[in-house]
Symmetry: D2
Subunit: 437 residues, 4 copies
């Protein structure tokens, strides 16, 4: 997580002020529940809210840091500073709780906050993809497999494909969000020895979480593993779109281009350059998020009722993965929204091989006209290879092939070279993806 | 995937005979649909089933291999061999389809078959965990954080914790199974140019899949990435349980032990050895499955309408990840089912520190009796440290501490050293996990 | 490791017969040393060689398997079968040794054998790269950064770059080979309690290994981690070359092409296809090998004097990583050796932008003629952008730009559009890489 | 990289002031070389040093940021600010160079600076390990395989093992340092079109680097991949030591303990706790560094003469991996230096099984006395198993076993229970590791 690849909405979640605020809410809600079941006086709970419900400022954070430098314990430092505001009633705060109750529940809140931003990010991206998909729904363009011209698709289909992929990713994240949205207020080893389970239920409800059915000292880390693994999948999908755009912008292809602002410089040395730097950057960011998946998986197998090896990992990848992914999703949305498509180049590439991409249709035409599939393949391939080698026109070659025209006359051959044949089901596909065409 | 870590149920899915059988079904169902919409004669579709619906044997696989050695194309070899059985009607097979239609849909079937076995594996594991959880629900044992004695839990709670974790994993796998259960019969670049979308719908329905809303030449690989990432999470949970058992079996702990059969040898050199080799092995297997997650993530960003870089990865990790995880889940179930628990050792360890683990309760007792939390902590800690250093008895030390007994008389102190206090909510937790206690 | 991506030279290393042969040699050499220092009779050592030095056949392997099915211990099964050949003297075999002495030393031998093949593979690759580098040393071609035309390089430089990279990889592998070439014959926990260190020294010398300075029950796994990490780097370099070729073969670029044999079929559906399937395949294989790095790293932190969690990992990645990398290196060598370069296309692409790639030289020309760098940049960029937008000819535009020609007359401008200017140091670079130009 | 896990020595390398300083030196040294070969005036080069060789302060960094906010190009912003100090001669700065020449050479300097700190860190760690190794060279302690008591070793051997491992890691890092210590000043695509190779040679020599034999626009990333992979191996070795200490500190083992300072609190809730939090933390930090290996490997396969996808990865993992590893190495050194060893507990554990760990010696004794290995094994195992099951004393049981005493009389049996037998070669091993004993 570095400022260059961060947005303030997301970094704020990981700043001390937000963390302390959540800690306070956990403690104060717990006091309410403790008061309700008669463990502490009801008036005390009220005073805790009345005096403690004040904003966490950088000054307060500094004071907490100051105390932590002495106590070497973050939660104790937090409680001590809080007591300075609340006064004597502070002795009722944190009763029967353990630090992990606060830390893990707080992490759950932070990750759900982060997930909500990421879900909104994906909504922006989905909207951009949908808009561009419909804009170019009917623009025929070359479909490529193996980087080699295959058969026509439409530019809109490319966006539709990514839209469907990010619909899935949205669903996955929603599910991963549920996975980490649990609250544990269960004490030192999860037995509720010193705190009633009703406290956990109350705090969970107040924070929009579910009680963790069984915790040890900590919330089990398979939840977080699944969460970060899902971020890794999403990052890989971002790379998927980024690679497509980088390819489309290659000088020899140049069907699309990242928006290049007036005054922008592509290179300090070469004034002619216009580089797809945003999508290249996204490719790198995807690697970073992907690299955080395995550490998160390694965090699952904690020793006995917990060891603290997961903590340093999460202090880094918690912010890093969510901030980087948030930044990447927004950067990608911007790229899609402003992407410049060059229909002329799209058409030029489509025609580059002189109709070679209709080879399957000719093949099928020959078989339908009675030639065996094997012979048809040979007939088409021998002409196709001459296009590659000599740059000849495919249709002309076919017309001059007596075996071919014996079965498909020249006129009929021409009709096989028909883009409409390839795009006739685009609407069907759009309906599947967008519910409309 | 090596025989040593394989079960035949799972390896069978990845054998040529199963693959060819699925390919045949895809082709034959497609013929039915093609016949229904009038593209090929209805009688031909019937003949294709009648003559083609015969078992794939190693002999037939060998014949297909023989043809592939010439054609260098697996699907063409398959179709050629099939034609040898079907005769002239074979020309209607594979009409308008592309190899990936067959390959990707087949992979979807294989992965769902694999997922179904893995789900059954987890059911076995869940049953074993539940049984042992109830068996030891009320056996108090030491809870440890950081590897250090913390406060009492029960042995049953350990199993309950793992049960809850595998319930979640089961849900995740079910969801990942849905993710990869799609069918694509959409032609060379996914446009249905040469095949009607109704064929895809029919084949999907017959194979228990859903049509892929938008495919390119291939089914998008974010689906597979999510699937293998989920297997990585499950593998990490297996490691979680394995590590717990390895710890419990350590010579100095020895609260539980993998079943050691009469005649078994723990070491060729040291006849006294009884090693937790099964759970150690599971730890290694978890690393293997985890290592397959990143390659699966790297497979997402294929170029344009597909490149074939994912193929070699899937040829390896498809079988490797599912076979290894299936083996691991069954090995783990066996370990849990036959795990030997030593209640005497459990109790001995519980008492090892002479009641030190009741330190929190004494701390709370002192604060409730009016001492400040800080002073209480100091009072308890100064006695506790002497137990570590001198091996003294904690209760005796407390009774001799005038500051302590001034607030909590000896008799009352004794009552704080109470296991029941720690286990009183075990039923609550069991109800949450199992729906019963 | 699957046959499709395997070469017999490498798979043979991992077959039981090779493993048993190495085990025998370890045991027999150890007997020689034991005889030399008087622990066992010299005649016995001779008999062990005389009767035991017979080839391991699949029949013998089957017999060993048969015994292992009973004893559940591979080394004991091996020794039992060996005894059947040696007779009574077999009681002197394995004296004071532990299974890991045999297993780990054998793994060291296997990995050095594998490394030697990989080193030879790299020699083949280096030779191929060198040949093609000199062949195309002076063929100017477009240099591209960000996928965008930058400035001219030569095709030979591309091969030289990869040659230098694989020289480094060769050095790294040589170093990693040394890292794993150690022998441990140190007994149950590495103390030599039951076996004299001189035995280890003798066996090490005979097998071309060095004695492990300090082993526990096992050879420390940081050695293997470094080895597999190095394979991961090499795999990534293979991907580097593969990606270059895939790019060069893109339809719109098509400066080079994997050899496409007469009769080959690129696609079952599209007869016109010629796909870079070999380099796509190499991209996937690189992912696989890379995925084995982290499991190898996770193997380092074994518990105390060893746990056996590393074993299952190595049983899989030992063969998988070396076999896959061997296959990939050879496939890559074949691709390079037979790569078809299309000089016409190379030249066409070089000229595609009408000299735009000389923009830096014009920029420098203007600054040398007295214009400020900033103004020069603007002057060049404004003309360059028109080439992108309008497809105009760069040189013509510059000649029509009064500000430009005021400082650099048309004639002088033309001279700046000079390929030789860019290639003048190619010989220098070749001398650095190959020691000759 | 977060302050909690950072040391200022290392973070300073990654601060803007150090980066800008290195950039300045690259530029100024390049000017010297350009002056030497007559491209720019010699006096200008002198002035550039005279006016430019002033410290980079946060104020200057802020000014550069200010400019970058406009130009969106970091190197241009740097050059502009530099020009404000140098005046007109600044037009000779950066002549014929490209941004990557500066950026990549700077990264090489930063990584070598980082490597030098890491090498010093390892020297501290090696010294600590050596000291503790000799301190406990002769303290017999239990050797454990599979977590189960095996045979005696000495506590010093444990430290010696880690010492040998870090000697290897030091060698590996030294080699990886060489790998990334290259300088590229070769222009836009590495052809030296606009800059003489002698400039590169001069700058390289001045900065302690070697010229990169062949660069494209960038220094090839296999170098960095190897560097970060090596850091991953070192991190895994740190985990290795950390896991050992965490095991030794387990409550039931407690042979050693991290230093626990007076006033320290192990837990907010449980005053009795003393947790191995430092080594647990190191376990997590190892995961983090390991997670950065694969992104570094994925950076190798850049497109053509470069794409910029590696940049974001390196902006994060460059600082993160080196800072984290530096912190971890120092934390580990501190742990080793202050580790508290409890010889009483060491001895107690050694005797826990009543001599069971001498089982191999009894086995060998029986075979030497004429019993077959198989029968000997059975005889020893049947007694050993009773120790496990009944807690009986192993020696007593053997003495009561008539088959055993028939071959080894009670007196002789006692002599087999001899620690000295196991430690007799410790000096040999120490000489191998430390060159002295």
């Amino acid at each position: 997580m570095i400022p260059r690849y961060s947005r303030p909405e997301m970094t704020k979640i990981w700043e001390p002020e937000n963390r302390f605020r959540i800690w306070f809410e956990i403690e104060a809600h717990a006091c309410d529940a403790l008061a309700e079941i008669g463990v502490i006086p009801k008036d005390s709970a009220k005073i805790i809210w009345a005096k403690g419900d004040i904003p966490y400022t950088p000054e307060r954070s500094a004071r907490i840091d100051e105390i932590e430098a002495v106590t070497k314990h973050d939660v104790i430092a937090f409680l001590t500073e809080l007591a300075e505001h609340i006064g004597p009633e502070s002795r009722f705060v944190h009763q029967g709780m353990t630090s992990s109750d606060v830390l893990d529940t707080c992490l759950a809140v932070q990750l759900t906050q982060a997930a909500d931003i990421l879900l909104a990010d994906m909504d922006r991206l989905l909207a951009a993809l949908e808009k561009r998909a419909f804009e170019y729904k009917d623009l025929p363009c070359m479909g490529r497999s193996h980087g080699i011209h295959a058969e026509p698709v439409t530019m809109g289909l490319k966006f539709a494909t990514f839209h469907a992929e990010f619909q899935r990713n949205r669903r996955r994240l929603k599910s991963a969000r549920e996975d980490i949205a649990t609250c544990a207020i269960s004490g030192a080893v999860g037995t509720f020895a010193n705190i009633d389970p009703r406290v956990e239920e109350h705090v969970a409800a107040k924070l929009g979480l579910k009680p963790e059915p069984v915790s040890t000292q900590v919330i089990p880390r398979d939840r977080h593993a699944q969460f970060f693994a899902t971020l890794g999948v999403i990052a890989s999908s971002i790379e998927h779109v980024a690679i497509e755009i980088r390819h489309l912008q290659r000088t020899e292809v140049r069907e699309a281009e990242e928006y290049f602002s007036p005054g922008q410089k592509g290179s300090s040395a070469m004034p002619h350059k216009r580089n797809p730097v945003l999508t290249e950057n996204l490719t790198g960011l995807a690697r970073l998020v992907r690299g955080m998946v395995v550490p998160a998986l390694e965090n699952v197998a904690l020793w006995h009722e917990r060891d603290i090896s997961h903590s340093s990992v999460e202090r880094m990848i918690g912010p890093d993965a969510t901030v980087t992914l948030d930044f990447a999703l927004n950067r990608l949305s911007g790229v899609i929204e402003k992407l410049v498509v060059y229909p002329d180049a799209v058409e030029r590439n489509l025609n580059q091989l002189g109709g070679l991409v209709f080879s399957q249709r000719v093949l099928l035409g020959l078989t339908q006209a009675g030639m065996s599939r094997e012979d048809s393949y040979k007939a088409v391939q021998r002409n196709a290879m001459r296009v590659w080698q000599e740059g000849a026109n495919f249709l002309d070659l076919l017309k001059a092939d007596t075996e071919v025209v014996a079965l498909i006359p020249a006129k009929a051959l021409e009709e096989l070279f028909d883009l409409g044949y390839h795009t006739k089901h685009v609407d069907t596909i759009f309906k599947r993806v967008f519910g409309r065409a």
